[in-house]
Amino acid sequence: MSEKFAAYAHPDALVSTDWLDKNLDTPGLRIVESNEDLLLYDTGHIPGAVHIDWRRDLNDQLVRDYIGPEAFAAMCSRYGITPETTVVFYGDKSNWWSCYAMWVFHLFGHTNCRILDGGRAKWVAEARPLTRAIPEPAPVTYPVPPRRLDEEIRAFYADTLTHMKAGLPLVDVRSPGEFSGEVTHMPEYPQEGVLRGGHIPGAKSMPWAKAANPDGTFKSAEELRDLYAGTLGLKQDDNIVAYCRIGERSSHTWFVLKYLLGYQNVRNYDGSWTEWGNMVRSPIERS
């Protein structure tokens, strides 16, 4: 294990590109690519990787919510994933969507998950193998999980409102302009239906990107501690809620806090600013 990984609270939550390259055919391993660029997987992917489309595969199509246990079991069965399978996630955007997919897997109790440090960009930059061949995993049966564990790692609007009123730590991971209310969209993205700019009262700003290096890898444990324990003053036993716009960037921060720094009680508010900023009578702050 590398010195960098060993310094994290849960080193086994990450795999390196080198390790994955040597373990492409390891039984019991399923590689999952999840991207923002919806056609990127089709242009070439890590051999054996299946594609999870966050909206098609993870979101309920009629309710703003995640899929239920039955759909999760069906998806895993389709992709050759059993409860014993180690799932390695990777993707574009410094692993936003792979962290999001991993977070959804955790909602169903599938915690045997890893993130590829550096994601797709690092794999491609190192000229490692890509293929357009779509794998056809042998059919398996994933038992339907008894329930979705929303209360453990997910915060809803009401939870977040209570959290805010109690003065508990809220981490806004959006860009500084979004946090201040200067803009209602993140840089380089269209407006996604947000009516007001600003942030949840009392939230502290720590843009997700500060946790990533330019090559998409996670910053070192020491650098991350400086950000979250140092700058934000978060303590290990704090009850923390992270949010962004729709919950994908905050999934990245959720992963960093929970698995790289070992914070015990971290929830992702997936309703995030597209819910909070638009909710009638919802208080906001601008700065």
Binding site: E36, D37, L38, L39, L40, D42, T43, R55, R56, H185, P187, E188, Y189, P190, E192, G193
Partner: protein, 151 residues
Amino acid sequence: MYPPPLQDLIDLFAGLPETERREMLINMADTAPLYAPAEGETFDLEDIRKDEECTDTVGVFLTAAADGTISYKISLGPQVQTLTRAMTSILCQGLNGSTAASILEVPADFVTKIVGTELVRVRSQTVYYVLTRMKSAAKVHLNRLRSATDS
């Protein structure tokens, strides 16, 4: 309603099952470099910029022919998404050789007919972005022509 080459592409995509539609879009994305300006090539109008709503710089290069038609070359930064690169090829194929006035009248509703509703999402609105930029260049070109005529 649509320039004939664009209509042909719409008809081609309309009949494709989803898997083949994706494959065709990727092929289109792969051919986007064919529509990039060549080194030293000159144009009647150049508009290179990085806008907030797109992930990277997009350059629109317009050439006007004596018969009143125009043609485009498009440069795309490396971070531009696959679907936007595909749409660039489609639009260059579909609009090159049309008049600026007819390009301005092209409605954007063909995009979902080509891309399919599954791939058009709030975050992939850049599929409309390149068309907007091409129309913008066509409008500037027309305005220049009108100014020249008035003077």
